[in-house]
């Protein structure tokens, strides 16, 4: 050893350090003594007590998973149910070489490449000691064959399990959602909700849609079986059994026949449709196209199908009705018109002369009407019937953004409706406050103008548009939209009904409502922008077409549909309610890149209303889109 000389030797520092170190050593010793004392207490003083408990632990408790509640539509059609089937399951931690084992298994039971892929994905998502299915829905022959060869496969077992099935496949998939395997994140969530104990033994839970938002009702209460086991853990006898309580059944307000008619009416087109009963808030149809097959998710989706769904340019997993944000376009105008009347900025007889554009005093910027040269003399009635932009530019300017925000906000645009599935987005009804918060900029008068025709910063979901339309149809009475009508226990005894009390009622002048409604009815008659869709209707309906821009058009440029890329074409919108005398249905339709609201969206609404009000099924032709523009032109 070399002679040790302290570098930078500060004797006082060193002394202090050594003192502190000695104190630490003392504390460590003390803590270890505490541990020892506790050992002594547990293992010597209380040994008998714990010994008895450990013996008693030979009575093991096994959870019994309850049957998941069923889902029905309003007429009792089954939308989600369970069936029992055999699965072949592997506990990966008990297996030395998985690859070999699966290869060998496939000589006994058919295992497709797809099963292997799904199993691999499950492995990545699960803990090692979990039992994971390699094959589901085994046939009786396969079960027998495996049973005979069972000794060759330690760690592999056959289990009878309940499976969820969605008999309608893609139909209403965005509403019903699906269940999937419980993952680590779900477990944390369950722990946070103090529900973990009730999920002992459960493998699945709702992941999206009704299956998710009504998980608590659907899951049921887990039962327990007390069993005596021998020292090796084998069951000797069952001591007691607390039966599980099945989950509650749900009756939706959805009419699945109507849903089917609506989905068919879309054909291959992308878009969304929401139909609401104005007098109750019952959601009658809730479409987001394209959909997906929820059955794919139940056993764990394989990566191929997942990539297909997740990477598709059509984004089938996106719930457009709930989460798609679109400028409302001209469907905003009825609410603007009502604001003008209610706030006395316009009277029905006031008319303007429309030169085809609007400019703010002292500005050269032209806000163009969709119709070059304008609509001539336009009063409020005509402004809605022909969807005149100039009228609403001027009205927006006269109202000002605060009035627009306060009045139209009452109809729920730009706000969550509070529907009973998770993931709803709020959209945006712009205000001075919002712009300051978002952009740290004050509101300019110019910002207000395009808001008046539903463009600018405006963003709404199809659900919000349907809700606003239902409030309009209900003469100002608003009900929270809901997909579940009532909740029944497994014996079909009513547990609770979803409330149908109005949320609020707006104080609106009946005369003003009548003026707007008259105009909206004429929208669907010859000369109106939705005249085509109104042809030969056996009931009177009020509607408004809309078109929302996907790409901006520069000043002085013209939108020519044929020159625009498919995905950049305008979205077609239509809102409507019928019959006007006593509205039974209010709906919004959106067709992505559909072009004109009157041509693409309104015919779908007509098909849906014909079925709902008259029970009339569409002839094949009736559902087809109409591609030409009618003589009046209706690019609003």
């Amino acid at each position: 050893m070399s002679p040790r000389v302290e570098l930078r030797n500060h004797p006082r520092e060193l002394q202090r350090f050594q003192l502190r170190l000695a104190i630490s050593a003392g504390v460590v010793l003390l803590l270890f003594l505490i541990l020892f004392a506790r050992f002594f207490y547990l293992q010597v003083s209380q040994r008998e007590h714990y010994h008895t408990l450990a013996e008693a632990n030979r009575i093991s408790i096994a959870p019994i998973v309850p049957n998941r509640g069923l889902i029905f539509d309003r007429n009792g059609e089954v939308l989600a149910h369970n069936y029992s089937a055999y699965t072949l399951e592997i506990v990966p931690s008990k297996v030395k070489n998985l690859e070999d084992l699966i290869n060998e298994l496939s000589t006994v039971v058919e295992i497709a490449a797809r099963d292997r892929k799904r199993f691999k994905k499950l492995m990545e998502e699960s803990k090692r000691f979990e039992s994971l299915p390699i094959r589901t829905r085994l046939s009786d022959v396969e079960v027998a064959r495996f049973a005979a060869n069972r000794y060759r496969f330690p760690g592999v077992e056959i289990k009878a399990r309940l499976f969820r099935q969605y008999p309608k496949g893609e139909m209403a998939s965005h509403v019903i959602g699906y269940i999937g395997r419980i993952n680590d994140k779900d477990l944390e969530q369950l722990e946070a909700n103090n529900a973990l104990a009730n999920y002992r033994g459960s493998q699945y839970m709702g992941k999206i849609g009704i299956e998710q938002s009504y998980e608590q009702d659907l899951h049921g209460i887990t039962g327990f079986e007390e069993m005596e086991t021998d020292a090796a853990g084998r069951v000797i006898r069952v001591i007691s059994r607390t039966p599980p309580v099945s989950g509650n059944n749900l009756t939706l307000s959805l009419d699945v026949k109507l849903q089917e008619v609506a989905e068919k009416a879309f054909g291959d087109r992308r878009g969304a449709l929401v139909a609401i009963e104005p007098s109750s808030g019952d959601v009658l149809a809730f479409v987001s196209k394209p959909g997906f097959d929820p059955n794919l998710f139940v056993d764990g989706i394989d990566s191929e199908n997942w990539d297909l769904l997740n990477n598709s340019i059509d984004r089938p997993l996106n719930n457009r009705a709930l989460r798609g944000l679109y400028p409302p376009g001209s469907t905003f105008k009825p609410f603007m018109a009502l604001a003008g009347l209610e706030l006395r900025k316009r009277a029905p007889q006031n008319a303007i002369v429309d030169p085809g554009y609007f400019n703010l005093p002292g500005s050269t910027h032209r806000f163009r009407d969709w119709k070059a040269g304008g609509h001539g003399v336009v009063d409020l009635h005509k402004s809605l019937v022909v969807s005149c932009d100039t009228y609403y530019y001027a009205l927006a300017n006269d109202l000002g953004i605060d009035n627009i925000y306060n009045f139209i906000g009452q109809f729920g645009l730009g706000k969550k409706t509070g529907i009973d599935i998770d993931g709803e987005v709020g959209g945006l009804l712009p205000s001075q406050d919002w712009k300051m918060r978002r952009y740290k900029q004050k509101w300019y008068a110019g910002d207000t103008i395009s808001v008046g025709i539903g463009q600018g910063y405006n963003l709404t979901t199809p659900l919000q548009l349907a809700f606003a339309t239902a409030v309009l149809a209900g003469r100002g009475t608003a009900f929270r939209p809901h997909l579940v009508k009532n909740i029944l226990d497994s014996n079909n005894e009513m547990v609770r009904e979803v409330a149908t009390q109005p949320l609020y009622t707006l104080d609106l002048n009946p005369n003003n409502l009548q003026v707007v409604q008259n105009a909206l009815v004429d929208v669907t008659r010859p000369g109106g922008t939705a005249a085509l869709a109104g042809t030969g209707a056996a009931y009177t309906f009020a509607g408004k077409t809309g078109t929302s821009q996907v790409v901006g058009i520069k000043q002085g440029e013209k939108y020519v549909e044929s020159k625009v890329h498919d995905r950049h074409r305008d979205h077609a919108l239509f809102i409507t309610y019928a019959p006007v005398e006593k509205p039974k249905i209010a709906l919004s339709v959106l067709v992505e890149n559909g072009g004109h609201g009157g041509a693409a969206a309104a015919p779908i609404a007509r098909v849906v209303m014909d079925y709902y009000l008259l029970g009339k099924l569409p002839e094949e032709e009736a559902a087809k889109p109409v591609d030409q523009i009618d003589e009046e032109g209706e690019h609003d």
């Binding site: 570098l7 500060h10 350090f17 803590l31 547990l42 040994r47 010994h51």
Partner: protein, 366 residues
């Protein structure tokens, strides 16, 4: 023959024999317990043995680096750690509801693990630099160096790791001579803020604390771990039920029995006698660490050696305390025995530093 002996001497010249013996004995205990805990699963045991070999070779490499070099990288390693933590907060992958991992293209890393070494290194480096003129301001700055990563890790959230890093930093402060008055003040402030902390806790965190007071309150939920582990330990008695004979373990009552709760397996099978021997073995390692700290030649090495040793002791106390039901359940492994590679590597990296401090020629002032 002599040739190979020479090579052997050359290879082991920086290895501290006493420390290594303690470590190897503990590792052996770990493998035996793991074998029982996994129901004789050879995969798990082999995996763990590989983890141990990797960790041991890292320890060997670190032991061969003279401390001056390690000192030089204190600042860069700390800054890198901070950057990575910021990266985790911004782009980290969410796993189990917590954001702890960062994907750096080739692989995923957990920067908080790096900080377990980087934080005491950085603080010791700082104190070493300002050794001659330590003032209150220096303590404040060092505390800031500690709190920054701790708060970032708390927010991931990762209570266990934040706690361990917090204590490793506190040990540096304590050993360097933070005045008793300030510590008393901090303790009083800490106690005073408990009600505030309580009101800020998540429901499930509160439940964990309540469960500590009365585990039977939630026997199938949060209290389950503690109840089952105390039954395992208590029923072990003085001599234990014998290796691979623990009923609690083998009837699958014990959760997480190969990781955080492995001590319950050991304790059920080896009883009070086994527990006492294990504690003594741990104490031997701790005492050796303290001797190394006391003999270290510079302020920096003293602080580092002291902090590493005391943190090691903290791991043991927190883990066993949790398993025997005197501390709340926090995710802290039992050092050298719990299954898992990451903590093993971190632990042996620390021991490598201890060996480097002890075995390299001390700096000599001419």
């Amino acid at each position: 023959m002599t040739r190979s002996l020479q090579i052997w001497h050359y290879l082991t010249r920086y290895i501290d024999g006493i420390l290594l013996s303690g470590i190897l004995l503990l590792m052996l205990t770990g493998l035996l317990t793991l074998y029982s805990a996994t129901d004789a699963n050879p995969n798990r045991v082999t995996n763990q043995a590989v983890n141990m070999l990797v960790a041991l070779s890292i320890m060997w490499m670190v032991a061969n680096i003279p401390l001056q070099h390690i000192m030089r990288i204190a600042l860069p390693i700390y800054m890198t750690g901070l950057l990575l933590l910021a990266g985790v907060a911004l782009f980290g992958e969410i796993n189990n509801g917590a954001r702890r991992w960062l994907n750096i293209g080739v692989t995923r890393i957990q920067p908080s693990e790096l900080m377990k070494i980087a934080v005491p290194l950085m603080m010791a480096w700082y104190f070493d630099k300002h050794e001659a003129t330590l003032r209150l301001r220096d303590y404040a700055i060092a505390t800031l160096l500690l709190l920054l990563p701790v708060v970032m890790i708390l927010r991931q959230p990762d209570l266990g790791t934040a706690l361990l890093i917090g204590s490793s930093g506190f040990f540096v402060l304590f050993l360097t001579g933070l005045s008793w008055r300030i510590m008393a003040g901090l303790a009083v402030a800490g106690l005073g803020s408990l009600p505030v902390l309580w009101s800020m806790m998540h429901d499930y965190q509160r439940r964990r604390v309540m469960t500590l007071l009365d585990p039977t309150q939630d026997a199938l939920g949060a209290g389950y771990h503690t109840i089952q582990s105390t039954i395992a330990i208590g029923s072990g008695g003085t001599l234990g039920k014998g290796w691979q004979q623990g009923t609690q373990t083998h009837l699958d009552f014990l959760p997480e029995k190969s990781t955080d709760f492995i001590f319950a397996v050991f304790s059920e099978e080896f009883g009070l006698v086994g527990n006492s021997l294990l504690l003594l073995l741990y104490l031997a390692v701790i005492v050796r660490g303290m001797v190394i700290a006391a003999n270290a030649s510079t302020h920096f090495t003293r602080l580092i050696a002291g902090s590493i040793t005391l943190t090691f002791a903290t791991y043991i106390f927190v883990n066993i305390g949790m398993v025997i039901g005197i501390l709340p359940v926090v995710g802290v492994p039992l050092p050298l025995i719990s299954y898992g590679g990451t903590s093993m590597v971190t632990m042996l990296l620390g021991f490598g530093i201890l060996m480097s401090i002890q075995m390299h020629p001390k700096l000599v002032k001419t």
